[in-house]
């Protein structure tokens, strides 16, 4: 298992290298530069600024300098947020973003799996039907629609929660964003769980477990659920990208002090190093999560052991 994980990490290196390269040249291809919107400066000062960030060198040389920096763990400076390096920006935003992301995944898994299991156990009943129709709608609602609607109902009409902002990080500021981000995922997980649970409940080993007189709790918890979760875990890995994109929108809507907001701003401000670092970070997270998912997959499903 360990050697498998290590091997996967090694094969991730070329992919990351390509991503760094693509992100670098993609940003430089974009028309306009980081200092275009500032008021006109004397040419010699402009030259000095460009020289300070190595932007006056040939593109390929800049690329090599950037690669060298990355290898030393330096993501470069921010061109627009003065006195901040990309590393510092990530360090300041990442905890809040991770809190948002992990809470949403956790919520999606716990509630989604419970609802899906409940629906599967009472297949074709009223419960099943309502869980499935609500989740059908839930999947169709993007979180930039869900977020304003939630803040309208819970924030404005019922006046239970603040509609945006961070306060000093109290829990009540975090409830709405997390729910808004988690809801589509809850719906997704619930549908998936129900589907695979229904299939598993009809399989022979569950019938055997029931026949040998195991209590329903261990039939479902130990035998059925464990197998029904295999597709769910795989898809969670695939959904991480969707979740991250959703997190960016959610952070923008609720002014959550995470990575998403400044990443979006930096794209249009042509803050080269910030966008490149952000893309690398996000691609890295997605690859890491997929690795974790694959390892978990082996743990949960003994038929697929990685040798």
């Amino acid at each position: 298992m360990l050697s498998y994980a290590l091997r996967r990490l090694v094969t991730a290196v070329p992919t990351l290298f390509v991503i760094i390269t693509v992100a670098f040249f993609m940003m430089r291809l974009a028309p306009g530069g980081p200092f275009d919107s500032d008021r006109a400066l004397p040419p010699e000062i402009e030259k000095n600024i460009a020289a300070a960030y190595d932007l006056d060198k040939p593109l390929f040389e800049q690329y090599l300098i950037y690669l060298g920096r990355i290898l030393r763990g330096d993501f470069g400076p921010s061109l627009k947020i003065r006195d901040f390096s990309v590393g510092e920006l990530i360090a300041s935003g990442a905890p809040a973003s991770m809190e948002l992301g992990f809470s949403a995944i956790l919520l999606a898994l716990v509630i989604g799996v419970s609802l899906g299991t409940l629906a599967a156990l009472r297949q074709n009943s009223g419960t099943d039907f309502s869980v499935m129709s609500v989740s059908m709608v839930g999947i169709a609602v993007p979180n930039f629609v869900m977020a304003p609607l939630l803040s309208l109902v819970l924030g404005v009409y019922l006046d239970l929660l603040p509609t945006s902002g961070w306060g000093s990080g109290e829990l009540r500021y975090k409830v709405l964003p997390v729910i808004a981000l988690a809801l589509p995922q809850i719906a997704y997980v619930a549908r998936l769980t129900r589907g695979s649970m229904v299939e598993v409940l009809h399989s022979n080993f569950v019938r055997t477990a029931r026949a040998k007189g195991l209590p329903p709790r261990s039939v479902i918890g130990l035998h059925a659920l464990r197998n029904a979760l295999i597709p769910v875990i795989t898809t969670i890995g695939l959904q991480v990208g969707v979740l991250l994109a959703g997190a960016i929108l959610t952070e923008t809507i609720f002014s959550w002090p995470g990575v998403g907001k400044w990443l979006v701003d930096s794209i249009s401000r042509r803050d080269y190093f910030v966008v490149q670092g952000g893309l690398l970070l996000i691609a890295g997270i997605i690859m890491l999560v997929n690795l974790i998912v694959d390892v978990l997959y082996g743990l949960i499903n003994p038929r697929i052991r990685h040798n």
């Binding site: 390509v18 028309p31 629609v145 304003p148």
Partner: protein, 309 residues
């Protein structure tokens, strides 16, 4: 066959009639399975209504979507206190009729869906066919490029692409199509790989069919079912992504009545006027829901292997 005998002609006619009947039977079978799924039928009905609404928007919409009625800012819907019968769903912050904007917005959303899916599907099929048919280094190259595209969240990549191309609806559509394309490439390639060594393909090759004919006429039609299902899903994804880009100010630019852009413009008025936020949101929801339902029905009807229990 240069000098066709009457008998041969009759044979051809008979064959043609048979193949027409077969197509008819296939359609009937498809509809039988599709109609089994009540949700899919409802979704299809809603979708047809949306298309009609989009096509006949100038006839249906009570107002011009861009006209600002200076005496009617933020008028609530007609059933609320203070509502006016002229503005059924109320007006927005600069006095434009929300219902008319939503009706015209349907044009943009459906247009986005059609264009994006067409680009992504065509590109995906061609690349997937080449990758699966040619194999070797070409295959590896195409698939690695697709893997890299898939390593980014689609919305984020679209955001960066739009930043490079410049904000706007057309660029947003190109970006979204590029981002959705790898799914089609992978699906096509997988289907081609499983089909290319089948007997009927070998037979066609032995009979002297060229590479292009083998790829597009022999193999492709047998790979279509999963592609159609994926195209439906991509249609709703395209609408969602375009709305999200519009919401972030990178898609359609104001005053275009695109639903996501409308939602973004409306956000600051959420405390005073619930209707400016709710109705564009509902429009997106209903459209996406309808298309997803149709997609489910198509999957059941076309692809029995993927059928849900």
């Amino acid at each position: 066959m240069t000098n066709t005998s009457p008998a041969a002609k009759a044979d051809t006619a008979k064959l043609e009639a048979e193949s027409r009947n077969a197509t008819k039977a296939q359609l009937a079978e498809f509809w039988y399975y599709f109609a089994q799924n009540k949700g899919a039928v409802v979704g299809l009905a809603v979708f047809v209504l949306l298309v009609l609404m989009a096509v006949f928007a100038p006839l249906i919409a009570p107002h011009n979507p861009d006209i600002q009625y200076r005496d009617s800012f933020l008028v609530p819907p007609v059933w609320e206190e203070g509502g006016k019968a002229a503005f059924l769903l109320g007006t927005d912050a600069v006095g434009r009729d929300i219902l008319s904007r939503l009706i015209f917005g349907a044009r943009f959303s459906l247009f986005i869906g059609v264009v994006v899916v067409t680009i992504a599907l065509t590109g995906g099929i061609v690349l997937g066919l080449i990758a699966g048919y040619v194999r070797g280094a070409v295959d590896t190259f195409i698939m690695r490029v697709m893997d890299i595209i898939l390593a980014f969240p689609s919305l984020l990549l679209a955001l960066v692409l739009v930043a490079i191309l410049g904000p706007g609806l057309i660029n947003a559509m190109i970006a979204i199509a590029l981002v959705l394309q790898p799914h089609f490439v992978r699906l096509t390639r997988a289907a081609v790989l499983s089909e290319r060594s089948r007997d009927y393909v070998v037979a066609a090759r032995v009979a002297g069919a060229g590479h292009l004919r083998l790829m597009f006429k022999t193999i492709l039609p047998n790979c279509l079912a999963p592609l159609i299902v994926q195209a439906t899903l991509s249609f709703s994804n395209a609408i969602l992504d375009a709305a999200a880009l519009g919401f972030l100010g990178m898609g359609a630019q104001p005053p275009t009545p695109e639903w996501g852009t409308m939602l973004a413009e409306a956000r600051e008025f959420i405390l005073r006027a619930w209707w400016v936020v709710t109705f564009p949101g509902l429009a997106i929801l209903i459209t996406v829901l309808a298309i997803n339902l149709v997609g489910d029905g198509l999957r059941d009807a076309l692809d029995p292997k993927l059928k849900r229990s």
